[in-house]
């Protein structure tokens, strides 16, 4: 885009990479300690659910217990540094492959829901920033506030109830055969539920309305009007791009958290459901892997926001 922005962006990336590495280390350590302190272990869970007794299980359990907790963590860490996330205790499959496989589904869900949120929030926010509350955008704003206050799992069940039981419209995704027409529609339901119900809708409406309203009142927008130029073009960077990237970066953890619930409700085979399952099974390698991945995604979001703000804002790129 601009040559002058390349150097600061490169500097930022280098700095952020170091911070990210340290952060991931911290996240893994905290998660490990929490898991270590939590009661139960994977094998007692397996035994409890399967009621299967065999001579092999106590043996592996013994093998694990020959190492201290700290040693276990170091072993896991050295494997991780070699790109090995370990294998699931439950299925025996490599964790990384599994996470990537289901991660794609979560990506569809979260990015799709983010687009839905923006598609609803942006027009409402911009029109009320421009004209104030009018008869047209007032109901939409109220709708955004109320819907954001509803818990997402409740919304999910209501939607399922209406669409599946009342109208008998969509079978639950992935649970049934997909040979019906309009199978792509099945994907949209959870995306819409997460997009509208994850609580970021009202935040984006409010934040974008305030920021855009502030920018539209700036002197330079009046100059743009006096010059005959489009006010949206002049207000775009400060009034739209910066606040939107800012709030999305800040809300990624919430969207991921909402995804866990929505995946559970809609039987969507994503990372959230996998994390839920792994937590119930005390499947330590999977939990650790997902925690690392989630932290990485959140970091990427905030990194993107920093890059945008540096590229857009000439004052930020001076250093």
């Amino acid at each position: 885009m601009k040559l002058s922005a390349i150097r600061p962006v490169a500097l930022l990336l280098a700095r952020e990479l170091i911070i990210t590495a340290l952060l991931l280390l911290g996240v893994s350590l905290v998660v490990f300690i929490v898991l270590y302190l939590s009661p139960g272990d994977p094998f007692s869970q397996l035994i409890a659910t399967q009621q299967a007794t065999g001579p092999s299980q106590p043996k592996t359990s013994d093998a694990l217990q020959t190492f201290s907790a700290f040693q276990q963590y170091l072993i896991w860490l050295t494997h991780l540094l070699q790109g090995d996330f370990g294998a699931s205790l439950r299925t025996g499959l490599p964790v990384l492959n599994e996470i990537v496989r289901v991660g794609i589904n979560t990506l569809y869900l979260t990015i799709g829901s983010m687009l839905v949120t923006l598609l609803v929030a942006v027009p409402v926010a911009l029109s009320s920033a421009r004209r104030g509350m009018t008869m047209l955008n007032w109901p939409f704003t109220m709708f955004a506030y109320i819907i954001s206050a509803l818990p997402v799992f409740w919304l999910g069940y209501v939607v399922i109830y209406i669409f599946l039981h009342k109208f008998n419209l969509f079978p639950i995704i992935f649970g049934f055969s997909n040979n019906q027409k309009l199978s792509w529609l099945y994907f949209l339901l959870p995306i819409f539920v997460l997009g509208i119900g994850n609580g970021t809708l009202s935040e984006i409406v409010r934040y974008l309305r305030e920021e855009m309203g502030r920018v539209l009142a700036e002197d330079y927008i009046r100059i743009a009007r006096a010059k005959g130029a489009s006010i949206w073009k002049h207000a775009f960077k400060e009034g739209f791009l910066l606040p939107v990237t800012e709030i999305i970066a800040a809300k990624i953890p919430f969207i991921l958290g909402g995804a866990v619930v929505v995946e559970q409700v809609f039987n969507w085979p994503g990372m959230g459901r996998m994390a839920w399952q792994a937590a119930q099974d005390r499947d330590y390698p999977v939990i650790m892997g997902i925690a690392i991945m989630a932290a990485l995604i959140v970091r990427c979001g905030s990194l993107l926001q920093r890059v945008v703000s540096i590229v857009v804002n000439p004052r930020a790129s001076r250093t």
């Binding site: 004209r131 330079y220 100059i223 010059k227 005959g228 960077k237 857009v312």
Partner: protein, 373 residues
């Protein structure tokens, strides 16, 4: 030939909490001929800027109401910029009192945008005060100027527009214009920014330039340089200008005609030489020629520090009282309460009847009962 002819302009803002109109501009009539510079002087709150914004059609978001006629002549076609504007405003009256104002803001906006589309920027350009806040901080000044070129002149090609923008940057005496072209506003000083603003306004090649306090907020040396620049541009390019300022020295240097505004109306209107010229001032210091001017104007002039004040340690004269409250405008003369030249013969009239503009000399009008024929 006058380019701009304002007739009986009223711009009111309805205050919901006070249930009354703030009469910011209350019956202003002005004319600007081609090549002429009209100066508008007055204290803060006298309606100078609102007059300018009314001309530009930038009264919008607020509950503003406009009435009157703004005739603007382009390519020989006279156009009333305020045509049909009041169809979008509804006043609900009760016992002759206005209880509420309903304005279809969206339609109002659309209407002014439609009327002003060919005029705003293209025919009338505007320079505002506070240059640093007036440039978009996210776009280089060069791009902002070439945007004006491409929007408002026949030049549409990017490279030609850039050349034209550079030409204007050189015209306003920005040194190393090519380097400055790629600067963002934060990298420029206030004076530089104001030069860039002037370049941006001139780049549209307007028929009329409205400068709203172009020197306010700059320090004194930069102020005088900007005034020098504007004087030079005026003589070289022959621009028609409406200059709004509360700085009488700026008006004196640049203007051909002057309107003195107070409380939303014009109190005195005439040639700059008659009203502000140095000899009148010195004469009136000696109390000789005072009666040439409106009491407000003479008080204004007396409050400007001159050489005598500095040398002779004379105290500066201030005008007693406060600026007129434009919600409760008194029945008689707006300046009556602060006037120091009321005499017994006219006092009754001053209190009860508002004077009209009386012709006193060649194109010199004064709104004061002292000059009633």
């Amino acid at each position: 030939m006058s380019i701009l002819k304002i007739e009986d302009l009223h711009t009111y803002f309805y205050s919901k909490s006070k249930q009354a109109f703030i009469r910011s501009v209350d019956g202003v009539s002005l004319q600007i001929a081609a090549g002429e510079t009209l100066g508008i002087v007055g204290e803060s709150g006298s309606g100078k800027s609102i007059t300018a914004l009314s001309i530009m059609g930038l009264i919008g978001a607020e509950p503003g109401v406009i009435a009157g006629k703004i005739g603007f002549k382009t390519n020989g076609i006279q156009k009333n910029l305020l045509q049909d504007i009041n169809e979008y405003v509804k006043l609900s009256k009760q016992d002759h009192r206005i209880m509420a104002v309903k304005k279809k803001a969206k339609e109002w906006h659309r209407h002014t945008d439609r009327v002003m589309k060919k005029i705003r920027g293209k025919e009338i350009a505007m320079i505002f005060q506070d240059p640093k806040a007036s440039m978009n901080p996210f776009i280089t000044i060069g791009r902002q100027i070439s945007e004006a070129v491409r929007l408002n002149t026949p030049i549409k090609n990017r490279r030609e527009a850039k050349e034209k923008a550079l030409y204007w940057l050189e015209q306003v005496k920005i040194d190393s214009a090519r380097l400055r072209f790629n600067n963002y506003p934060y990298g420029l000083s206030g004076g530089m920014c104001q030069r860039a603003m002037i370049a941006m306004a001139l780049a549209s090649e307007p028929a009329l330039l409205i400068a709203d306090e172009p020197t306010t907020g700059l320090d004194a040396t930069i102020q005088s340089k900007i005034v020098d620049l504007m004087a030079e541009l005026k003589s070289v390019l022959g621009i028609t200008m409406m200059l709004i300022s509360h700085d009488i020295d700026v008006i004196k240097r640049l203007c051909d005609r002057v309107a003195v505004m107070y409380g939303g109306t014009v109190l005195e209107y005439g040639s700059a030489r008659d009203i502000l010229s140095a000899d009148v001032e010195t004469k009136f210091e000696d109390q000789i020629n005072r009666e040439f001017l409106h009491p407000y104007t003479s008080a204004l002039l007396a409050s400007v520090p001159s050489e005598d004040h500095v040398k002779g340690n004379k105290p500066l004269q201030a005008i007693e009282g406060d600026v007129l409250d434009t919600i409760n405008i008194p029945r008689g003369c707006r300046f009556y309460r602060r006037c120091n030249r009321v005499n017994a013969a006219i006092e009754d009239k001053c209190q009860t009847v508002e004077p009209q503009l009386f012709q006193t000399g060649n194109q010199h009008q004064i709104r004061c009962w002292l000059y009633a024929a």
